[in-house]
């Protein structure tokens, strides 16, 4: 099945997809190495990051759960943070349900390689064949490279004793920042994230570790505000209103 799908495609499309997939895998491999190294250097046994990469396979939640545990939080708080981050995978699953095929084993396999990256690659393609190829190529290569990188990271983490002097502790927050940036183009989400971050940092000295991050969700109240959904240029005039003296015409629909 997969072979025919590849043969049907335009070779130029295929080359572009393969090139982009390789670049994404390289970028994520760097994150994977820093994930494995930071987890092990922080005192976790090497099987924890390796098992997480294999079974959870969702970078953001792995980083989140690990950083909660490394900050001294309880496993329950770590799992809660990871689970909340992964709720976005539910709409992803609905968005790419057509590319994972009809057989039960392709569905089960496809579900596991549903990530930010593979969904983005699939949705960028217009035709079903290229969508399928992009999804599977990205998903499978990412699974292999992410797990290989995590193993390399755990080895690096055991060899390098003083990871602080290499600045490795700054890579986690940097990655999480970079992951969140595209969603922050929306003004209300930006306000929610800003409020949440200030709340979490302010409560860190008083609350037990792991809880301050969850209090940040209070910032989501901004989403109900009457602000525009997308950023609007400042110079735009207020909305035009129908003059009072004109009789309303027939309803449009």
């Amino acid at each position: 099945m997969q072979l025919f799908m590849i043969l049907n495609m335009n070779p130029a499309d295929r080359t572009t997809i393969v090139r982009d997939v390789v670049l994404v895998c390289l970028a994520d491999a760097i994150v994977g190495v820093s994930f494995g190294a930071t987890a092990v250097a922080g005192g976790l046994p090497p099987w924890v990051p390796v098992a997480m990469s294999l079974l959870v396979f969702a970078g953001g939640s792995q980083l989140a759960a690990t950083s909660v545990v490394l900050a001294g939080g309880s496993p329950a708080a770590a799992v809660a943070a990871g689970v909340l981050l992964n709720t976005r995978l539910v709409p992803y699953g609905f968005a790419v349900a057509d590319v994972t095929g009809n057989r039960w084993y392709t569905r089960f396999l496809g579900a596991h390689v549903t990530t930010d990256e593979s969904v983005a690659f699939a949705l960028r393609q217009a035709h079903t064949d290229t969508r399928k190829f992009a999804f599977w190529a990205c998903g499978i290569s990412l699974f292999v490279s992410w797990n290989a990188a995590t193993i390399v990271g755990t080895v690096v983490g055991t060899m390098v004793r003083n990871t602080g002097s290499f600045g490795l502790d700054a890579t986690f927050p940097a990655v999480m920042l970079a992951l969140a940036l595209p969603v922050l183009a929306d003004g209300r989400t930006r306000a929610a994230a800003g409020t949440g971050a200030v709340t979490a940092v302010a409560l860190t000295p008083v609350l037990p570790a792991g809880l301050p991050v969850l209090t940040a969700l209070a910032g989501l109240a901004w989403l109900r505000s009457p602000w525009p959904r997308s950023p609007r240029p400042r110079w735009r005039r207020p909305r035009w209103r129908r003059p009072r003296w004109r009789r309303p015409g027939p309803p449009c629909r």
Binding site: S67, V90, A111, P173, L179
Partner: protein, 102 residues
């Protein structure tokens, strides 16, 4: 982190992923609920980035780490390649620590 925590996180994550392919024929996600998880994820990620950049335990982490993360964030906002962003965070922090900044 106990093995049960990893197992629970893995199981719930897989259930989230399987929901789409399994229930697509039966119902659809309302448009209002489609954007909320992405926003919630961004809020959590930014809060995690802020706390792990600024705090260590219950106190301040020192200036080197937030400086490195800020440099990386500026690069990311200018759409620099991802590997460069990650490496910048580590290098800036390491150089500041080498210069004696805590």
């Amino acid at each position: 982190m106990p093995i049960a925590a990893v197992a629970v996180l893995a199981a719930v994550t897989y259930a989230f992923r399987l929901a789409g392919p399994a229930f697509r024929q039966r119902f659809r996600i309302p448009p209002a609920a489609r954007d909320l998880p992405a926003s919630a994820a961004a809020v959590l990620l930014i809060a995690l980035a802020a706390t792990s950049a600024l705090t260590q335990g219950h106190g301040f982490a020192g200036w080197a780490r937030p400086a490195g993360v800020t440099a990386a964030g500026l690069l990311a906002a200018r759409r620099a390649p991802f590997p460069l962003v990650v490496v910048t965070a580590a290098v800036v922090t390491a150089l500041l620590r080498l210069a004696g900044v805590p």
